[in-house]
Amino acid sequence: MKTEIRIPFGPQHPDLEEPINFMFEVEEEYVKKVSVRLGYIHRGIEKLAEERSFLKNIYLVERICGICSFAHSTCYVQAVEELLEIEVPRRARFIRTIIAEMERIQNHYLWLAFTAKAMGFDTLFMYSMRDRDHILKILELITGKRVNYGLNTIGGVRRDLPEELQPEIFSKLIYLKKRAKKYKELCESDPLIQKRTKNIGILKPKDARKLSAVGPTIRASGIDDDVRSIEKYAAYDEISFNVITYKGCDVFSRILVRIDEIPESAKIIENALHNMPDTPTQVKTPKEIPKGETVSKVEAPRGENLHFLKSNGTEKPERLKIRAPTLANLTALCKMLEGANIADIPVIIAGIDPCIACAERMIFLK
């Protein structure tokens, strides 16, 4: 006798931060089929962007997501600057790099806490959140706010990084590097974490390429695909860094990739602070943007972020299209969930770092 139960996961669930609906068909604790429904948090941002001027849109685009907000705003501002064909001063590009890497560190600590909670490990959740507070303090000292910084403007950045803040930044970075090393030791030596995450949520490299996964999800399958080293936007052409890959293809490798990226980001910040050039931080720009269309890409903490901008010569944009990294990872997630145990579902979903608020756009299916 076949016993198949259909379990709804979401839109309200203690494990998810944002509403999304998965419908699982389950037989004796193994998942047979999965189907996804989006649309619970659609806010109409692309339509709202067509009614505001280019400068006011920076504040709209920043608030798409609370955690990767600087990546969205950098991507949009780079698209506008490409249409205007101006050159951003070097000091502004270095400051953008520093803040983007700090946001990456902050996101990876939050993700570690979220995954530990999905596994039932409450202590690691509390410790990660305690350490994340240090980097939010530095961001508040530099930009004035803890989230949604408001630092980018067309033609540069609005605030300068004074020299007096540098000793405090260095000391906090040393503390954060030490904590990341301790968490890596914990994950490699704890037998229970390895039992819950090894060989779970496997994504082979061929499938990852075919289903277009991005970010640490694909870097844990052995493919080194990083927008920072391909496109070399902002100051990444003057600062060298390593792209981190692991070959495990499972959730354990994704944890290791993200924990290893924290000291790498700290090295980039220290490098940039030592070699900071002495130029102004902003150039003046006209209000009307010439006609044209362009695509700009940025490596957000979760993956590759893409903005398409089309302007028709007036003060307001004609079309802005945003493709967030979570939208690209969702099809890979459906492939990973087939054949999984029910108890592994929260761990697999947490492994791709979902941010549903970024991913809600209009999609046409045929």
Binding site: Y59, T123, G144, K145, G150, R158, L186
Partner: protein
């Protein structure tokens, strides 16, 4: 295991949480807060009204007789009006407690004739 030592040593340390409302965290020096106007310096140029992303400022009157109405419920605390004012009439204060019982009361008016009195 590495975590046993850490867990036991945390038993003897002081907890990290702040006991709000008995202990509060202070905002830093140049954090972005609410804007306030020095109404004697305002010359009614309308620049702050045009640049605000969420239309939270309203100007009534002309030139040296202008009055400013500032809607606290719409403000994003972005600081664009502070940067753009040509006479430095706006500066930010670090007051972060903005709780009101009714939405209609969430505005402040600045005008010269009533001697800089703020009506809430």
């Amino acid at each position: 295991m590495t975590i046993i030592k850490e867990v036991i040593s945390n038993f003897l340390k002081k907890p990290v949480t702040l006991r709000f409302p008995y202990e509060k965290m202070q905002p830093v020096e140049n954090s972005r807060g609410q804007p306030t106007w020095k109404i004697e310096r305002c010359m009614g140029c309308n620049l702050c009204v045009n640049v605000c992303p969420s239309q939270a400022i309203e100007l009534r009157g002309k030139g040296r007789e202008s009055e400013i109405i500032y809607y606290q419920s719409k403000c994003l605390f972005c600081g664009e009006c502070i940067d753009v004012c040509p006479t430095n009439a706006i500066h930010s204060i670090s007051e972060y407690k903005t709780v009101f019982p009714e939405k209609d009361k969430m505005k402040k008016e600045y005008s010269r004739s009533k001697q800089n009195r703020e009506i809430k």
